[in-house]
Symmetry: C2
Subunit: 488 residues, 2 copies
């Protein structure tokens, strides 16, 4: 037996024994090569062989997966993906905050199984090493600099961020980068920099509720555009909307998540991102690109941000370390293109600067190396959790349920049968110690009333599977009217 | 000799030897009692004796000072205090940001003598102990809490802050306190919570440029009210302005600094604060109270905030640790009364939460004790620097100069002869390696064109005295037209 045949044999046994189950992602080539001490080409050869044997299959940009049906859903079928959304064609004022705060307030109890949370589990992050970097960074701090730590932020940290842009093929100047209090501040400052009250802003449908809240806070009009759960915003619909707007009421900005959109998990292919940027450039419309999940890809390559295709300085790329390295440190950034000075001034006027200790901790961590190792482990963990979650939805949710299959991040978008009200499911689930993010939060007109966003990024204590079983039971009971509606 | 006579004798010798100079503040009674191991009544007795001998004198709410004339100014007289301001009587739009950013941009060079800085010198802060508290706090962190560190912020820190309110005689509930990214964010959120674009907001005249920038950012109208350099805003003028506003355009908020106003240094007496709060309550107008310098009093007692007299929940009290303990940590807070929920929601929507490491460092530091010892040392240092700065202005600034004598903080407000343009002084000073804050920054209509704000809170390297000599020379030369005007 050749070396690749031996390796394929070992894997085939794992599959037959059930150690690797249908739907599981195969170990990455790079990882295997490193851990087994064999060359990448040997690993590839083994995978080609297993593929030829029908044991595994490749998914584009995502890697290899064990073949074979998932456990059948009650109806006997694997749930379909949600259909593209069909939002209203006109812009609308936003009044969603009260509902968002009501739901968030109900889900803050730390004993709940946090399926409604926006963050992954804390056990996924290298918090101890970060704390050591924090101490080390502070020891080396020049006292004079702590008084002068004004925007754009710590020079070394900005260099590290620019370096990562470069490694992923996007050229961003260190001077363009502004450190913010998380991506949330970056996104809000960008929106404020390019709009006046009453302006129209394009968002995806469904869209992250914080984007809707930002629009509401600044008295902006939301124009929601149809979005596909797999490849993102519908460019034809966007082009039509841009052309259709009356001259006195043009679109002033787009706030989009091209990679692993929240809540859909959709990923725009590179060509589509390029087309998006070109389309917006034709209308001179700035793109506020929320890319906080970009590093959480399950496939081998980090998706290129839309920013990479920007030649006009119209793309404001926002990201942070909060979702993939250092929650609670509140360090995000924006590379705001031609708006960099305007955004920096807004930052100076509202929160002055980001916290020096947090900035130093991250620049120290990044300089020491090991970020990519941590990210590989995090992505693997999230991909494994996704398989568990998809299985559970297939097995326990009512017939007619549709569910997204994102290639990154840690959210599922679950479309229940239309007769089920997600706020009812949410309120019953709370009584069973489980939080959810009901679909009503993700649209100005609350149209996703039968959808829920499920966070599968909390591996702790094996609580994910029983919690999803419970939510599935509740949804089924509500569908059969065996449980009372609780929504007002 | 009795014990108090012996102590008085020691002090008299220090005065005669010049170790304690005219204008110097005498060591506080409490401090002396503690460090010398004698009772407070003995110290008082010694001070009464020295006062009877004409060697020292008391200043209300401030302590004892060495008597005798300061060095005579060139004109032979000690500079007078500035007169109360006389702002325009109508509200006005604000367009000051470009000038502010131009001047701030010119003064960021860290080699300049930072007379134009808004911060005291870094050597005044316990940065090493804070860094140890940071490490200690992070070691004790429950990982689960770092993901959930949402507003209103760290519970222990808010308890410590509530405790300090209580110690100073102001009852504030822990639940009312929201941790923010410095006072700057707190102030901006408060303003946003109670205004809509076009609303009228009362500010002092002169006022801190960041308040003007906040008004400009939110498209608000500034209504500047006459302010006395010693005891603050003119309540009769404020009452008249409130009564005079047309019904369709009422005042929607006051943004004031009742204690050690920036730039004047004025301190409203308690009775006047009480009257202010009652006046605003009659009109239902919220007070945004900027109290970032309240802890930097030279007198024995911390000035009570206006918040202490609020019975209607109309006072939003904003402060931070940035000016008196932990610059760069970006930890401030607001106790926003009836607006607490609205402000907290705005925080959630814009920057989510304050950085966890910074919050932990401060709660750890405050729990360990020693904050008041640090503050006593800081106040003593600043008071000494003020004496140096006042002497230098008296000795070197042109005849006709007026200067404030604040009882706390670290700013002098210097009114030059009207023929001198402060932007000229500023630009010439830059060429001599000195930054200044020209008066034009402190009013919507740039009326303080012959004033400068001088930061005397940077004790490093004895650079204060020669820098002030230089600024005085430049102002004199500009007055005599021996130097060219540089202002465009």
């Amino acid at each position: 037996m050749k070396r690749y045949e031996r390796h394929a044999d070992v894997l085939a046994q794992l599959i037959h024994s059930g150690a690797l189950r249908p739907g599981d992602r195969m170990p990455s080539v790079r990882e295997t090569s490193r851990t087994r001490g064999i060359s990448p080409s040997t690993v590839f050869a083994a995978y080609y062989l297993l593929e030829a044997q029908g044991l595994i299959h490749a998914r584009p940009r995502s890697g290899y997966y064990v073949s074979g049906a998932r456990p059948a859903a009650p109806g006997g079928e694997r749930p379909a993906e949600p259909l593209p959304s069909q939002p209203a064609s006109t812009s609308t004022g936003v009044a969603i905050s009260d509902l968002v705060f009501e739901v968030l307030g109900q889900t803050r109890d730390s004993t709940l199984v946090p399926l409604g949370s926006a963050f992954p589990g804390p056990e996924l992050f290298p918090l101890e090493r970060l704390a050591r970097c924090l101490s080390g960074g502070m020891r080396r701090l020049d006292p004079a600099s702590i008084v002068q730590s004004l925007p754009p932020g710590d020079e070394r940290l900005r260099q590290q961020i620019a370096l990562r842009y470069g490694l992923h093929g996007t050229a961003v100047d260190v001077e363009e980068i502004l450190i913010t209090n998380g991506a949330m501040e970056a996104l809000n400052l960008c929106l404020e920099a390019v709009t006046q009250p009453g302006d129209v802003v394009v968002v995806e449908s469904p869209t992250f509720y914080a984007a809707l809240q930002a629009l509401e806070r600044l008295n902006l009009q939301a124009l929601e555009i149809a979005t596909h759960p797999r490849d993102g915003i519908d460019l034809a619909a966007l082009a039509e909307a841009l052309a259709r707007q009356p001259p006195g009421q043009p679109v002033k900005a787009c706030w989009l998540m091209p990679s692993f959109q929240n809540p859909l998990g959709s990923l725009m292919p590179e060509a589509k991102k390029r087309e998006l940027v070109a389309l917006l450039a034709r209308y001179g419309v700035p793109l506020i690109e929320d890319d906080v999940y970009g590093e959480l890809h399950y496939g081998p390559q980090r998706p290129v941000p839309a920013k990479a295709f920007d030649t006009q300085g119209l793309v404001m790329h926002c990201s942070s370390f909060s979702k993939n390295l250092a929650p609670g440190y509140r360090v995000g950034w924006v590379a705001a293109g031609r708006y960099a000075t305007a955004v920096q001034r807004l930052k100076l006027m509202t929160t002055l600067s980001a916290a020096t200790p947090s900035q130093l901790a991250l620049s120290e961590y990044l300089a020491q190396g090991g970020y990519d190792r941590h990210l590989r482990q995090l992505r693997r963990g999230l991909a494994e959790q996704q398989a568990i979650a998809l299985d559970a939805v297939a097995a326990h949710f009512p017939p007619g349920t549709r569910v997204s299959r994102p290639e990154g991040g840690y959210f599922l978008w679950v479309e229940l049968p239309p007769a089920v009200n997600a706020l009812d499911v949410h309120r019953h689930a709370l009584q069973h110690g489980i939080s959810l993010a009901p679909g009503q939060l993700f649209s100005a007109d609350r149209r996703f009333a039968h959808c829920v966003r499920i966070n599968y990024g909390h591996p702790a204590q094996g609580r994910l599977l029983p919690a999803l079983e419970c939510v599935g039971r509740l949804a089924t009971a509500l569908l059969k009217k065996e449980l009372p509606a609780l929504s007002g």
